[in-house]
């Protein structure tokens, strides 16, 4: 009797030890999983997505129509769904072609770009890949002679008058067109908290002077006028480029990046001074925040305004559950009304790919209104085509589509469209230093020194 109890106790102790060990292992796994979280989750999803896509195809057809591998960094909320919807639609239309989704997560595309560089340099290009229209395409892949012009696709599909001329110019080098724009984001938007504006009786500022007045008023009332999260420093560069457009106009802006205006021009010095002034009105902990964190400040009413590309609208609506035009409003960056900072995702045709016909089918599909109207409402961008169906977009989208038709377009610097990636990294560094030091001369010198890399 006694022995049995003892045995039982021993058993219990062993069992308990076993459980605690199990718990420890579980804890380790949980913690390890948390860290790798971002990347792995996204990768898993992608794998699953591509598996699904591949399976669907194998089920529905023989799959001998070829294979297309789409390379992108669309793994975030909204954009991944949009991409999957695109692939689904393409599968319906072209059941013979297998689509492989090769998306790389993380770092607003910087991780993907590193992977892409390796693959392109190693002559193992994906069938087609996401690239921002502008110098990110022209100064790198086109300059390195890795891309095939697709003028024939534009002619065959009558695309020449379906996309704005300035946009086609952005994806062309001379007369050769190198990619198909799928969506357009606007970079010169300021989002603001409506309740905060009303509470302090503030009107939407349309000029820089008005903006500074408003900022002064808000700061006196104890509200952070402008939210900034420049942990990655391109967020501050976006303010700089919008100030450039406000001061120089879009023509001057284009001249600047064509090298026709020097960076030590008095106008640019004035822009630098204005940037310094704007930075006096931002939240103190800007260096510890990314753009989502800074958008939260506006959502919570701690800050009044946020200068961000209009992907922030998707974040406000989908993640923070705010109502457009009710909780938050938007206006063009002061002084750039009628201008439109373009950030466009495009897809091109690399040299040396395995399956040219299937890739061309896919590119044709990407340029169609059907594809653009499926993808863009989900992603929260507007279509690059000017003849898309307005009804499918929300109030913000319709507004922006209207602006897009008439506005003067200018390519974004922070997102690699206005200048080469080399210049962009150097400009980001210069801005990062300027944000803290506020030394205009240093800033201008740094930009001037980097200009040959443009």
């Amino acid at each position: 009797m006694c022995k049995r109890i003892q045995n039982q106790k021993k058993g219990e102790i062993i069992l308990r030890k076993f459980y605690s060990l199990l718990l420890l292992v579980a804890l380790v796994l949980v913690i390890a999983a948390c860290g790798a979280n971002d990347k792995d989750n996204a990768n898993d999803k992608n794998n699953k997505a591509s598996d699904n896509a591949a399976n669907d195809n194998n089920d529905s057809a023989s799959g001998d129509g070829g294979t297309v591998e789409i390379f992108s960094w669309w793994t975030g909320a909204g954009e991944e769904e949009g991409l999957l919807a695109l692939i689904d639609l393409f599968n319906e239309l072209q059941p013979d072609i297998t689509v492989e989704n090769a998306a790389v997560a993380g770092g607003a595309g910087t991780n993907a770009k590193a992977v892409l560089t390796t693959r392109m340099q190693g002559n193992d290009p994906p069938s087609t890949f996401q690239v921002h229209g502008g110098e990110e395409l022209n100064k790198s892949w086109v300059a390195a002679d890795k891309m095939e012009p697709i003028n024939d696709l534009y002619e065959a599909n009558d695309w020449m008058d379906k996309f704005p001329d300035e946009l086609i110019e952005l994806v062309s080098d001379g007369d050769d067109i190198y990619s198909v724009p799928v969506n357009v984001h606007r970079g010169n938007v300021v989002f603001y908290n409506k309740a905060v504006f009303e509470e302090h009786g503030i009107e939407v500022p349309t000029t820089l002077d008005e903006f500074f007045d408003v900022a002064e008023k808000l700061q006196a009332a104890g509200v952070t006028p402008l939210a900034l999260g420049d942990k990655e420093s391109w967020e501050a560069t976006m303010i700089f480029e919008n100030l450039l457009a406000a001061e120089l106009g879009t023509d001057g802006y284009l001249d600047l990046f064509a090298g026709d205006i020097e960076f030590d021009d008095p106008k640019i010095v004035k822009v630098a001074e204005d940037l310094g002034k704007v930075l006096e009105y931002v939240n103190e902990d800007h260096a510890s925040r990314n753009w989502q964190d800074s958008a939260q400040l506006v959502a919570e009413g701690e800050a009044a305004m946020l200068n961000m590309g209009d992907w922030a609208k998707g974040y406000f609506v989908n993640d923070l559950k705010l109502e457009t035009n009710e909780d938050f409003g938007y206006f063009a960056f002061p002084g750039t009304d009628g201008d439109f900072s373009v950030i466009t995702d495009t897809f091109g045709k690399p040299k040396g790919i395995d399956d040219v016909p299937a890739t061309e089918e896919f590119l044709t599909f990407l340029g169609s209104t059907e594809a653009q109207d499926v993808f863009n409402p989900i992603k929260g961008s507007i279509p690059a085509r000017i003849d898309a169906d307005v009804e499918k977009y929300d109030a913000y989208g319709q507004d922006t589509m209207e602006d897009f038709k008439t506005a003067n377009l200018f390519p974004s610097l922070a997102h690699g469209s206005a200048a080469s990636e080399g210049f962009v990294t150097k400009a980001n560094q210069a801005v990062n230093i300027f944000v803290t030091q506020g030394d205009v001369d240093n800033f201008i010198t740094a930009l001037k020194n980097a200009a040959p890399d443009m």
Partner: protein, 281 residues
């Protein structure tokens, strides 16, 4: 052999070329890239940060590891529990540590949430002040306050390692030696200062070497925790190398940075290997 030394010499070759665009250009540039780097604000800042990070990190890891090891060695109750608790952070990756400490030391949340009530609000890794700074080259040379936050996180993670090394070292010191010292009239404090710690010297050397090469090459912790920071107060050469090479396509500059990092690590490793070899003979 090929995969290590072959690639090192390839990096050396690229670092002397003009390969600073996406289109390969292997024409000889001499030391142009190195000269550019040593004049560059960001690189100078990175070297400064690495220097102070290394000093603070190694010092703190040694002191905290040693103190904890001595306390545990006194056979406190529940020693094994404490040992495991201290060792546990070592099982984590630097990325996890970085993310967690990014929250804990965030200037608006984390510890500051409580410190607020004491009216202290350190800005942690967003602080752009340079302590005892003076102008040197294009940067302000001195201790960047922000780097202290990173040091805290790194020390939290690596103390377990030096603790384990020191416990092993302490166990290897025979009790007779300490007895003898006590017989000679040494106080307990003197026993540690004059006998135990000098006898732990080889352990300390190993800890320094291992920690030095972790801190000189540090990338993941900073990448996950702070990024390069405002005014590059938490930037390190590793981070600069990654960004300039893979974002800016400055391959030759990137290669030059990695060669400089290799040389920095060599400064620590080569004397160590040398003395080891001497010891063997």
């Amino acid at each position: 052999m090929v995969f290590v030394y072959g690639f090192i010499s390839w990096s050396g070759y690229v670092s002397l070329s003009n390969y600073n665009t996406i289109v390969p250009d292997f024409s000889f540039a001499g030391l142009k890239n190195y000269i550019y780097l040593f004049q560059d604000f960001r690189f100078q800042a990175g070297l400064r940060n690495t220097l102070f990070f290394t000093i603070l990190f190694i010092g703190a890891v040694i002191v905290s590891g040693l103190v904890l090891a001595i306390l545990l060695d006194k056979s406190v109750k529940g020693e094994s529990v404490f040992r495991n608790i201290f060792l546990f952070p070592m099982a984590l990756s630097f990325v996890v540590t970085g993310v967690v400490w990014q929250w804990l030391l965030h200037p608006s949340t984390g510890f500051n949430y409580f410190l607020k009530f004491l009216n202290i609000e350190p800005k942690w890794y967003t602080d752009t002040n340079i302590l005892a700074g003076f102008k040197w080259g294009s940067i302000e040379f001195g201790l960047p306050v922000a780097i202290i936050a990173v040091v805290i996180a790194a020390v939290w993670q690596m103390t377990g390692f030096s603790l384990a090394m020191y416990i092993a070292g302490l166990r290897a010191i025979p009790e007779e030696v300490r007895e003898a010292a006590r017989m000679d009239g040494a106080s307990e404090f003197q026993v540690y200062m004059r006998v135990v710690i000098p006898m732990l010297m080889p352990i300390t050397m190993s800890v320094v070497i291992i920690m030095a090469h972790i801190s000189l090459k540090i990338f993941d912790l900073i990448y996950a925790m702070t990024g390069s920071g405002a005014n590059f107060v938490t930037d390190v050469p590793g981070l600069y190398m990654f960004e300039t090479t893979f974002r800016g396509n400055y391959y030759a500059n990137g290669a030059a940075i990695s060669i400089i990092m290799l040389l920095l690590v060599a400064v620590f490793i080569v004397p160590y290997l040398w003395t080891n070899r001497k010891g063997d003979q």
